[in-house]
Amino acid sequence: MNGAAAGVSGVGAVAWTADEMMAVEASRRLRNGDVCFVGIGLPSLAANLARRTHAPECVLVYESGTIGAKPTMLPLSIGDGELAETADAVVSVPEMFAYWLQGGRIDVGFLGAAQIDRHGNLNSTVIGDYQTPKVRLPGGGGAPEIASSVSDVFVMLRQSPRAFVERLDFKTSSGERVRVVVTDLGILEPRGGELTLVSVHPGSTVDDARAATGWDLKVAPDVQETESPRPAELEALRALGTKGRE
């Protein structure tokens, strides 16, 4: 957890961080039985939290080939041994991408990125020019085909003008199937073909979200306040820890 303390609400409630709010909100959007393609970090946290709260039948698929992994601690990498030990099936990487992802077996795919535009297109390749980059990022990995093969893409990304940009430096994946963007300030959903602020987290305002967006952010007329993390959610989340990061 590296987010600063973000909020407290209600009598006897505990303080929570921005990262915790993000993980909790993404987790709430997973339905019981959803098959999720999960990356490391916040997505892994969100999906594992869902399994421990409202969606125990949620199936976690890690691109290393583990299908139905049930880790007791959060893994540091997508290929940690515990994922294989607790999985329903372990398949090869070519099989994972061909039969399972391209085969249309995955409902939800989580993606993060360095940049996002108003259409949900993502950049995880370079900042600056491709040939002479200012920052060479890790690259697409599974993202290009996750974005085009799963039914629903969930994006988790901290909101800032550097990340929420008018124009991507590189388009690593398509925004066509992005259904929600969970940020540290609120929640964006596509409405009328453009990401629109539909909720702000407790302690944040619509103006905060606007100021952290590099384009003229559309705000839903019925913009809500996100429900704070419940004590039970926080307890389950904190019990997960992360292997090797304590």
Partner: protein, 270 residues
């Protein structure tokens, strides 16, 4: 038939400068010791293929062994950047690095195509992204439906290198746990080197294992711990602390060079 030899002999005999080499292992069973041997023997101008370059390619790149990298995700998993890779791309240190980048799905298809002796791998991918303008990917039309599909050139490494748990005395190899893309890597490569945790009298069948017969492998070397800081299922766990510790080592050219000198160049070949 695979010969059971030392790792230094396997690398000396099979890997030459300017070769295309693939060291595979998806988080699990990454052949780090073999990468170190390439550094010790001073190989130059390699084209290296790997889905997730990881710390082992950060080291090869930082030591100037690599001319071109073919990859799909070049980070330190769960930690951040590979700084030697970034320094090579962003600043040309210690040498400029040519990149050919794909998606994971594209890399997997390219290995499977190589193993199948096909000229390209086929997938529904790369669509609606900036990748096709920057990498070797084409599009073909399905003769039955008219659908446009992506074609990635097959990987055909000169040498494929993997790490496995066990070999028997004939050089038959078995690996299990997360098996990644290693079977395809060996079968796509002209020559193959396998390092193993141990050599046993008889391979005991394991659920979900990949078994590679001796006659598709050229050299087997017994290198216990040869995947560290990656892991070998059933032998030792992933050294997550090492991956975290690599961040400050790789961030600084001098610290990196000193680390390689102490832990690789001055280490004894096996």
């Amino acid at each position: 038939m695979a010969e059971i030899v030392s790792l230094s002999e396997a690398v000396r005999e099979l890997v030459a400068d300017e070769h295309t080499v693939a060291l595979e292992g998806f988080t699990h069973l990454i052949p780090h010791a073999a990468g170190h041997e390439l550094i010790r023997q001073g190989r130059r101008d390699l084209t290296v293929i790997r889905m997730t370059p990881d710390v082992v390619y950060d080291q090869l790149i930082g030591m100037g062994c690599v001319r071109k990298l073919v990859f799909s995700w070049g980070g330190n998993p769960g930690v951040g950047s590979l700084h030697r890779l970034r320094d090579a791309v962003e600043n040309g240190w210690p040498a400029p690095l040519e990149l050919e980048e794909h998606s994971h799905a594209g890399m997997a298809a390219a290995y499977a195509a190589g193993a199948s002796n096909l000229p390209f791998g086929l997938l529904r991918g790369y669509a609606d992204t900036d990748l096709p303008a920057r990498t070797r990917v084409g599009f073909v039309t399905c003769p039955f439906t008219g659908e446009q599909l992506a074609a990635v050139p097959a990987h055909r490494p000169d040498v494929g290198i993997i790490h496995a748990q066990q070999a028997d005395r004939h050089g038959n190899v078995q690996l299990w746990g997360i098996t990644g893309v290693q079977k395809e890597t060996v079968l796509a490569s002209k020559r193959a080197i396998v390092t193993v945790e141990e050599i046993v009298d008889e391979l005991e069948p394991r659920p979900g294992a990949v078994v590679l017969p001796s006659w598709v492998i050229d050299a087997v070397a017994c290198v216990p711990g040869g995947a560290h800081p990656s892991y070998a299922h059933g032998y030792y766990e992933r050294d997550n602390d090492f991956y975290v510790a690599w961040e400050p080592i790789s961030r600084d050219r001098d610290v990196f060079t000193a680390w390689i000198r102490e832990h690789v160049l001055e280490a004894v070949s096996v």
